[in-house]
């Protein structure tokens, strides 16, 4: 059963179609990189997948369940990294993770939080309020939050944003391990070089539609297709 099936997804704001009929399938054990220029609809599409936005038209099915019903158990299977961290500035990194662990009813939360803080390189900073975190530290904490409950479908909006090269490498390794463990991953990025080593497929979103889907590992072909679709071949 596919982790995600989108059929003719449309999302309009004040009559303007940001998504104009997206068809996409993501299988378990697959990493799909979603490329597209600014305003292509990547973030909106991910928010629809994360059940934060309802599609104006079309149908979204997650793990065989119609997303319109969106039962709590379905949300438990999703991990979402947004542009914002979803973390409270006046709580420490560890406290933020503990709060989200309670919401997701994570078993052995203390150990899990310790492991993730270590992975994110935030062991020392874990007790400091998030207000004092740098952009990169906030991003690493947000990634730890998205991974906290071991979701089956990871939705990552610009996951490499603000990360230093070591953190990018750690994240790439983690995502490959998760994919090999059978998790489905959808990530948006502008940075093909960072997505290419981990993506099994690449979709190009342009003007609210999937313009092309390619083998993610063929970076040159993806780059050429991107130029063709977005820049009219220039």
């Amino acid at each position: 059963m596919p982790a995600l099936v989108a059929e003719g997804l449309v999302r309009a704001y004040a009559g303007m179609r940001v998504l104009a009929g997206v068809d996409l399938t993501v299988e378990a054990g697959e990493t799909l990189a979603l490329l597209g220029p600014n305003g292509a609809g990547k973030t909106t599409l991910l928010r629809v997948f994360a059940l934060l936005l309802r599609p104006s038209e079309g149908r979204l099915t997650l793990f065989g369940i119609d997303a319109r019903s969106a039962p709590p158990e379905l949300r438990r299977r999703l991990g979402y990294l947004a542009h914002e961290s979803f973390c409270y500035p006046d709580l420490s990194g560890a406290e933020n993770l503990a709060f989200h662990a309670r919401l997701f009813d994570v078993a052995a939360a203390r150990e899990r939080i310790g492991t993730l803080l270590a992975w994110a390189g935030l062991e020392a900073a874990g007790r400091r309020p998030v207000r004092f975190y740098s952009r990169g530290m906030s991003q690493r904490l947000a990634l730890a939050r998205a991974l906290l409950h071991e979701p089956d479908l990871l939705l990552l909006d610009e996951p490499f944003s603000g990360l230093d090269p070591a953190a990018v490498e750690a994240l790439q390794e983690r995502l490959v391990a998760l994919r090999e463990a059978g998790r489905a991953i959808v990530l948006t990025t502008h940075d093909l070089d960072r997505a290419a080593p981990i993506a099994t497929r690449t979709a190009i979103l342009h003007r609210g539609r999937i313009a092309s889907v390619l083998d993610g590992r063929a970076a040159d072909a993806v780059a050429a297709a991107y130029r063709t679709v977005v820049a009219g071949g220039r």
């Binding site: 059940l51 961290s85 709580l91 309670r102 919401l103």
Partner: protein
């Protein structure tokens, strides 16, 4: 219930750490109290009659500030979306935020009510049990409605103006009930206030249930 408790604990933890909400409502409460007392300029023998109106006018405006701040916490870093992607019922978010607002407003009442007695020359100790019942019902009714409308206003532009504009007209029945109940309690105890207390209890139940049922439609897309 697990989600509501987690949200309540989180809000209390942030408030304990920053004390921003409490300090701002206490300062505003004190200022309003001083302004209203000075504006009425009542002689000591007439001042006690002003207690119900001064008390609840102060509570209303400081409460608006406190409840609005409770939802601004969720706006920073889009934390509200963080709650909405979690597997908890939106009603649990409402209950958690409601409980946190009730607690904040109760602490504010603990400080402001004795000051009202002091400023308006009224010994509140003999009527304290009855007054506590009115304060609790007024607090719950206000928080039930304000929590729902704070969630609406936090997502719109001009949110600072929107909350009072939406909320104050709907709070008029509560204000009438609390002022009337307080006046009756001060005059002779809880028995005299039974009609007003009934109105307050109905208001509390209606808006707590409405908030619990409608919150999902307010916060979800």
């Amino acid at each position: 219930m697990r989600g509501a408790l987690a949200i309540f604990r989180k809000d209390m933890s942030i408030e304990w750490r920053t004390r921003e909400g409490l300090s701002s409502v206490l300062v505003l409460g004190l200022l309003l109290l001083v302004v209203l007392t000075v504006a009425y300029d009542a002689p000591p023998e007439a001042a006690p009659a002003l207690v119900p109106s001064v008390l609840w006018a102060t509570f209303l405006f400081t409460g608006l500030l406190g409840v609005q701040r409770g939802f601004l916490l969720e706006r920073e870093n889009d934390c509200l979306s963080g709650l909405l992607v979690s597997p908890i019922d939106p009603a649990a978010i409402y209950l958690g935020k409601l409980a946190a607002n009730v607690a904040l407003l109760a602490v504010m009442q603990l400080v402001v009510v004795p000051l009202v007695g002091l400023f308006l020359h009224l010994d509140l100790m003999p009527v304290l049990p009855g007054l506590l019942v009115v304060l609790a019902l007024g607090n719950l009714g206000f928080a039930a409605l304000a929590t729902l409308f704070a969630a609406i206003s936090v997502r719109v532009r001009a949110r600072e103006v929107m909350l009072p504009l939406l909320l104050l007209p709907l709070l008029v029945p509560l204000l009438i009930g609390t002022v009337s109940a307080t006046r009756s309690v001060l005059a002779g105890g809880l028995t005299l206030a039974s009609d007003a207390l009934g109105v307050l209890a109905c208001f509390d139940v209606i808006f707590a249930v409405a908030g619990w049922l409608l919150f999902a439609y307010v916060v979800r897309d």
